[in-house]
């Protein structure tokens, strides 16, 4: 144990101790000041956000539930099943099984496509690495954060769920907010 009696110890500077009269006066005055402070809060509107009815708007770059994208003109999936997202995922919650595209009936724009694309939302940490890793911007992070469910298996989102147009349940923050 180090000796504490050296120059590292800083002596606390204290003001002169208040006498009885001064101390009482000070305590009384401070009490009244405190009472005034709390009373002033009553006139103000509460800061509480009434959550299920009222939601905090999220920022545009907020990382919520993932979305998979399609090309708007051809309707083909952007995902080519390269599994880079699964490789980048630190929580190991993405599972991709790729398959060859049939030239007659293409699913994606590339040579291959994701036959199975699953994200286990109960393991996802919403770091956004999948979005960064994706070479085709096929996966992006959405804004939805209300992901609770009664069953763990219901939290494994399949490709169809991720491709579907998500319910916009979360208000987006406007420029000036």
């Amino acid at each position: 144990m180090a000796d504490l009696r050296d120059e590292d110890v800083i002596a606390v500077q204290r003001g002169p101790k208040a006498g009885v009269a001064r101390g009482t006066y000070r305590a009384f005055g401070e009490t009244l000041r405190g009472l005034k402070t709390t009373l002033a809060r009553v006139a103000e509107k509460p800061l509480t956000i009434q959550y299920p009815e009222e939601k905090t708007p999220v920022f545009p770059r907020f990382r919520g539930r993932h979305k998979l994208h399609k090309f708007e003109d051809s309707g083909l999936e952007k995902c080519v099943g390269c599994s880079l997202c699964a490789a980048a995922c630190p929580a190991d919650c993405i599972r991709v099984v790729a398959a060859e595209n049939d030239p007659e009936d293409r699913v994606s724009a590339g040579e291959r496509y994701a036959a199975v694309y699953e994200i286990n939302m109960s393991r996802c940490i919403f770091c956004g690495y999948c979005e960064v890793a994706c070479p085709f911007d096929a996966i992006t992070m959405g804004h939805d954060y209300e992901l609770s469910d009664l069953n763990r298996s219901d939290l494994i989102f399949t490709k169809e769920m991720l491709l579907a147009e998500p319910l916009e349940r979360t208000p987006l923050r406007t420029e000036d907010e």
């Binding site: 009482t24 009472l35 402070t37 709390t38 009373l39 809060r41 009553v42 103000e44 509460p46 800061l47």
Partner: protein, 342 residues
């Protein structure tokens, strides 16, 4: 041999007493959920939030929901507890609180359908002593509850309440001596009547009023003197081991004590059923005036609770013994001197 009951004002027939008891009991107990809700709502607003607003319109059903929840809880007691005392302790707390409610005067004697009825439960000639006697017994409720629980946290909590109650009861009692001397009576109705002649005692007895109020915060175990139930260090104080209805009883008693201390403050210092500025108060308006003033004092209790942090144990004792007690004694001496010389 005259029974002690004979010194109690029994000007009215016996059945009036029973009706009065029921009415006072019913109204007094209806105040508790109202104050509970008021406190939670106001505390919320003091802290910039809403308070309960989910159950019913504006959360008005919240106390009911609380009671239903607590009443349907499983009754249990710790293996180390003393069964009989564990059961009876909350009952003592409630009993003493309700008993004190009886002496709060809500108005003067009024004529109801040809019967002279005093608007108070009983009017003993030793009114203030009665209140203090039951305040002293109330301490057994806390002490036995904490001790019989067989838990160290409950025990520590009850030791703290015991020390606190004893230290503050003395100052509280001494603070009232000035009022008693000025009124020349211990009867609460006579004290109110003396105030209608001499003016409210909050003026000449402002020091006594402050001491009584501060000691009242301590008596009711409320912030900033709520260290018997300091949640952070003692879990819940003497009622740690109580769940369900035992817990309800203690809470109930605590809030009822708060109402009683407020009502006593109103009676002793704020002119009881008299309106301010010498306005004429009709007999039937008395109870409303008393309840209105009581509500104001309760608002003060809530306001103080929202503002002040909890005192440390030694600060509590210092305040009680080194500041309040000498001040109360001085107040008594000065009042006595002035009364004798003038």
């Amino acid at each position: 041999m005259t029974l002690p009951i004979s010194v109690v004002n029994l000007a009215e027939p016996w059945w009036v007493g029973i009706i009065k008891a029921i009415v006072i009991f019913a109204i007094g107990l209806q105040l508790i959920p109202i104050i509970l809700l008021l406190e939670r709502k106001l505390l919320g607003r003091f802290q910039g939030r809403y308070g309960p607003n989910r159950v019913g319109v504006f959360g008005l059903m919240q106390p009911l929901a609380d009671i239903i929840k607590l009443a349907t809880k499983e009754g249990f007691r710790p293996r180390t507890s003393v069964a009989f005392l564990f059961m009876i302790a909350p009952a003592i707390s409630i009993l003493t609180a309700v008993a004190t409610l009886a002496i709060v005067p809500f108005g003067n004697t009024v004529d109801i359908f040809g019967t002279e009825v005093g608007l108070y439960g009983i009017d003993p000639s030793i009114g203030i002593l009665y209140a203090f006697a039951f305040g002293g017994i109330a301490f057994y409720g806390l002490m036995l509850g904490g001790w019989a629980s067989g838990s160290k946290y409950s025990f520590l909590g009850s030791m703290r309440s015991a020390a606190q109650l004893i230290s503050y009861e003395i100052s509280q009692g001494l603070a009232l001596v000035g009022v008693i001397m000025m009124a020349g009576s211990l009867s609460l109705t006579e004290i109110v009547e003396a105030q209608s002649v001499q003016g409210w005692f909050i003026g000449p007895q402002i020091v006594g009023f402050m001491i009584f109020l501060i000691a009242g915060f301590a008596e009711t175990n409320r912030a900033p003197f709520d260290l018997p139930e300091a949640d952070a260090e003692l879990v819940g104080g003497y009622m740690t081991e109580y769940g369900g209805l035992g817990f309800v009883s203690y809470y109930f008693a605590e809030y009822l004590t708060m109402i009683i201390v407020s009502a006593l403050t109103v009676t002793l210092f704020l002119g009881g059923w008299e309106l301010p500025f010498g306005w004429y108060t009709p007999g039937w308006a008395g109870p409303f005036v008393v309840l209105g003033k009581t509500l104001l004092i309760i608002l003060l209790f809530i306001w103080v609770r929202a503002t002040l942090p909890r005192l440390r144990y030694d600060q509590l004792m210092t305040l009680g013994w080194k500041i309040l007690l000498p001040l109360a004694t001085l107040n008594t001496l000065v009042t006595a001197t002035l009364l004798v010389t003038t």
